[in-house]
C-alpha cells in the first residue's frame, strides 16, 4: 500500500504526473493526453481540509474517488461559490481559500466517461471497412485506454453515416465495452467470434500504470497491437510477469511496447534498470516541479 501524500507533495505529484503525460509523446493510438493532463492539473488543486492524496496500490494513479471529486466539484462549484460569496466579501480567510478551490474546479476540464468514434475507411464488395476508436476514461480502476480497431463488417452493405453509427452503437459498443478490459489478443479472439466481422487490426494504448521514483512519479504508457498482418509475437513489457500470447496457429501476431516518462535526474538510472531486465522501452525525461515556497 502506498503511503498517502500530504498536501504539498500531493500537488507536486499531480503536476509532475501531468508533465510526465506531456513528456510521453503519445500518438493517436493513445487516449488524448491533453484531457488527461488537464484532469491531473485540476487534481493538483487540493480541496481545503482534504489535502492528502491516496493512490491506488495496483495502478499507482490517485484513487478513483480523487478523479471523481474533480468531476463532481466541477458541477457543484457555481452553486457553492454563490453560497459563500458574502463570506468571502466579509474577508473570511477559510472562505477565500475555499473560493479559490471552487473557482479552480469551475474552470477545470474534467475527463468525460469516454467517447466512441466511427470512421469509414472504404466500401468493399463484401461489406464496409471502417475504424472504431473507443476512449475509455475508466476512473473506477483507474485506467485510461484507447482502443483503435480496424475491421470489415460484412453485416453492412450500404454505408450510411447515421446507420453506421447506430449499427455500431447498438450491436457493437456493448461487445466492445465488455471486451475492453481484456488484453488485446483475448479481445481479438472474442471479437472474431462474431461471424460478420473481419478484424484487420486491434490496438490498445493505455496511459499507466505509474511507479514511484525518488524525485517524482514514473508514468508509463503501453501500446499493444494485434493483427493478421503482424508476424509472431514481440512483447517488451517489464511490468508483465506472464501473459497469454497467441500461438502460431492463431492467425494473427501481437506486439507490445511500453515507454516511460521519468524525472530528468533519474533517466539514466531508469535506462539502466530497463537494460538489466532486457527491455528496449523508450525513456523520456520531464523537468521536476519545485515545491511551493516555504513548504517542507
Amino acid at each position: 500500500m502506498r503511503t498517502p501524500l500530504p498536501g504539498n507533495e500531493a500537488s507536486t505529484w499531480c503536476l509532475q504526473a501531468a508533465r510526465a503525460v506531456d513528456a510521453l509523446r503519445l500518438n493517436r493510438q493513445y487516449p488524448p493526453w491533453e484531457a488527461l493532463r488537464a484532469h491531473l492539473d485540476a487534481l493538483a488543486v487540493r480541496p481545503p481540509g482534504e489535502e492528502t492524496l491516496s493512490r491506488c496500490p495496483r495502478t499507482g494513479w490517485p484513487v478513483p474517488a480523487e478523479w471523481l471529486r474533480v468531476r463532481v466539484d466541477h458541477r457543484l462549484a457555481p452553486e457553492m461559490l454563490a453560497r459563500i460569496h458574502h463570506m468571502e466579501k466579509a474577508g473570511d480567510e477559510p472562505s477565500r481559500k475555499k473560493g479559490d478551490y471552487l473557482r479552480a474546479m469551475a474552470a477545470a476540464h474534467p475527463l468525460p466517461d469516454g467517447d466512441l468514434h466511427v470512421a469509414l475507411i472504404r466500401r468493399e464488395p463484401d461489406g464496409v471497412r471502417f475504424q472504431v476508436v473507443l476512449d475509455r476514461w475508466e476512473v473506477g480502476r483507474p485506467a485510461f485506454v484507447r482502443w483503435t480497431i480496424r475491421l470489415l463488417d460484412r453485416g453492412v452493405r450500404a454505408f450510411d453515416a447515421d446507420e453506421m453509427a447506430s449499427h455500431v452503437h447498438e450491436s457493437f459498443k456493448r461487445r466492445l465495452l465488455a471486451l475492453a478490459s481484456q488484453p488485446v489478443p483475448e479481445a481479438l479472439v472474442l471479437l472474431r467470434a462474431h461471424d460478420d466481422l473481419v478484424v484487420d487490426e486491434m490496438a490498445r494504448g493505455e496511459v499507466g500504470p505509474v511507479l514511484d521514483a525518488t524525485t517524482g512519479p514514473v508514468v508509463s504508457a503501453g501500446l499493444g497491437r494485434a493483427s493478421p498482418a503482424i508476424q509472431g509475437v514481440a512483447v517488451d513489457d517489464p511490468l508483465q510477469d506472464e501473459m497469454h500470447v497467441p500461438g502460431q496457429d492463431a492467425g494473427f501476431g501481437y506486439t507490445f511496447q511500453r515507454k516511460w516518462a521519468v524525472p530528468e535526474a533519474e533517466v539514466a538510472g531508469h535506462q539502466a534498470w530497463l537494460r538489466k531486465v532486457g527491455s528496449k522501452g523508450m525513456v523520456y525525461g520531464y523537468a521536476a516541479v519545485a515545491l511551493p515556497h516555504g513548504s517542507v
Binding site: 474517488a65 453560497r83 460569496h85 458574502h86 463570506m87 472562505s95 466517461d113
Partner: protein, 292 residues
C-alpha cells in the same frame, strides 16, 4: 466604523445570508425529490444488479463496474454537496457570531450614551430654566449676558435630547437586528447538525462502497463478492433514502424559517424607515421652534 455603517454592513450581509439559506432550502427540496426518483430507478437486486452479477462471467464485468461507479458518482455528488454546505454553515456561523458580537458592542455603546445623555438632561434643563429667569429679571448688560447664557443652555439641552433620540434609535435598531441574527443562528445550528449527520452517514456508505468496488476492480467476480456489492448498494440506497427524507424536512423547516426571517428583516427596514422619517420631522420642528 460608525454605528449606522456597522448596522448597514451587517444587514447587507445578513440579507445575502438569508437569501442563500433560501437557496439551500430549494436545493434540499430538489435533492429530496431527485433522490426519490433515483431510488425508484435503482435496479432491484434480483432482477437487475444481482442478476447481472450472478451471471458473473468476465465479459459482463466491465460494464457492471462502470455502472456501479456511475451510481457511486451520483451518490458522491449528493454527499459532497452536503459536505460543502456543512462547511459553509460552519464559516457562516463564525461570521454570524462575529456580527452578533459587533452588534452587541454597538447596542451597549448606544445604551451607555443614551444613559449618560438622559442623566445630564435634567441638569441642562435646570440651567435653561435658570437662564430664562435671569433673562426675565435683568436689564442692560446683565440681560444681554443672561440671553447669551440662555442660548448656550438651550443648545446644550437640544444636543442632549438629540443624543438621547439618536442613541435610542441605534439601540432599538441594533437590538432588533440582533434578535433576527440570534434567530438565524438557531436555524443554522439546527441545519448544521442535521446536514452534518447526513454527511457523515453518506461518507461512511460511500467509503464502504469504494472499498468493495476496488476489490471488484482488482478482478474478483466471485458470487459472495457480488452479494457483498449488492449489500453495499443496499446500504447506500438506505442512506440515500434517509438523506432524501431529511432533505425534505430541512427544506420545509428552511421555507418556514426563511419566510419568518424575511418578514422580520422587512419589518426592521420599515421600522428604520419610519424612525428616520419621524426623526427628520422632529428635527425640522425643533429647528423651527428653537430661537437662534
Amino acid at each position: 466604523m460608525a454605528s449606522e455603517d456597522c448596522i448597514t454592513d451587517v444587514l447587507a450581509r445578513h440579507r445575502e445570508r438569508v437569501a442563500s439559506l433560501e437557496q439551500l432550502g430549494k436545493a434540499e427540496r430538489a435533492l429530496g425529490e431527485e433522490l426519490q426518483r433515483t431510488l425508484s430507478a435503482q435496479p432491484t437486486a434480483r432482477t437487475g444488479l444481482l442478476g447481472r452479477l450472478l451471471r458473473g462471467k468476465a465479459k459482463t464485468e466491465a460494464p457492471l463496474l462502470q455502472t456501479l461507479w456511475e451510481r457511486h458518482e451520483q451518490a458522491m455528488e449528493k454527499v459532497r454537496a452536503l459536505g460543502h454546505h456543512v462547511e459553509a454553515l460552519d464559516r457562516d456561523l463564525a461570521l454570524l457570531q462575529a456580527d452578533v458580537e459587533r452588534l452587541g458592542d454597538e447596542a451597549c455603546a448606544a445604551a451607555h450614551k443614551r444613559d449618560a445623555s438622559e442623566k445630564a438632561l435634567p441638569e441642562a434643563l435646570s440651567a435653561q430654566a435658570r437662564a430664562e429667569s435671569d433673562v426675565a429679571q435683568t436689564t442692560g448688560v446683565a440681560a444681554i449676558e443672561a440671553g447669551r447664557a440662555l442660548d448656550r443652555a438651550k443648545a446644550r439641552a437640544w444636543d442632549l435630547r438629540q443624543e438621547v433620540e439618536r442613541s435610542q434609535a441605534v439601540e432599538e435598531r441594533t437590538l432588533g437586528l440582533l434578535e433576527v441574527l440570534r434567530e438565524t443562528r438557531g436555524t443554522m445550528e439546527r441545519l448544521h447538525a442535521s446536514l452534518g449527520q447526513l454527511h457523515d452517514a453518506g461518507t461512511r456508505a460511500l467509503a464502504d462502497l469504494e472499498r468493495r468496488l476496488s476489490i471488484l476492480a482488482a478482478g474478483a467476480t466471485a458470487r459472495d463478492l457480488a452479494l457483498q456489492t449488492v449489500g453495499a448498494m443496499d446500504a447506500l440506497r438506505e442512506t440515500l433514502h434517509v438523506v432524501s427524507n431529511l432533505a425534505d424536512e430541512n427544506a420545509t423547516f428552511l421555507d418556514e424559517r426563511v419566510d419568518a426571517l424575511d418578514a422580520r428583516m422587512r419589518l426592521l427596514d420599515a421600522q428604520s424607515e419610519t424612525e428616520r422619517e419621524a426623526r427628520d420631522e422632529v428635527e425640522a420642528a425643533l429647528r423651527r421652534s428653537t430661537p437662534r
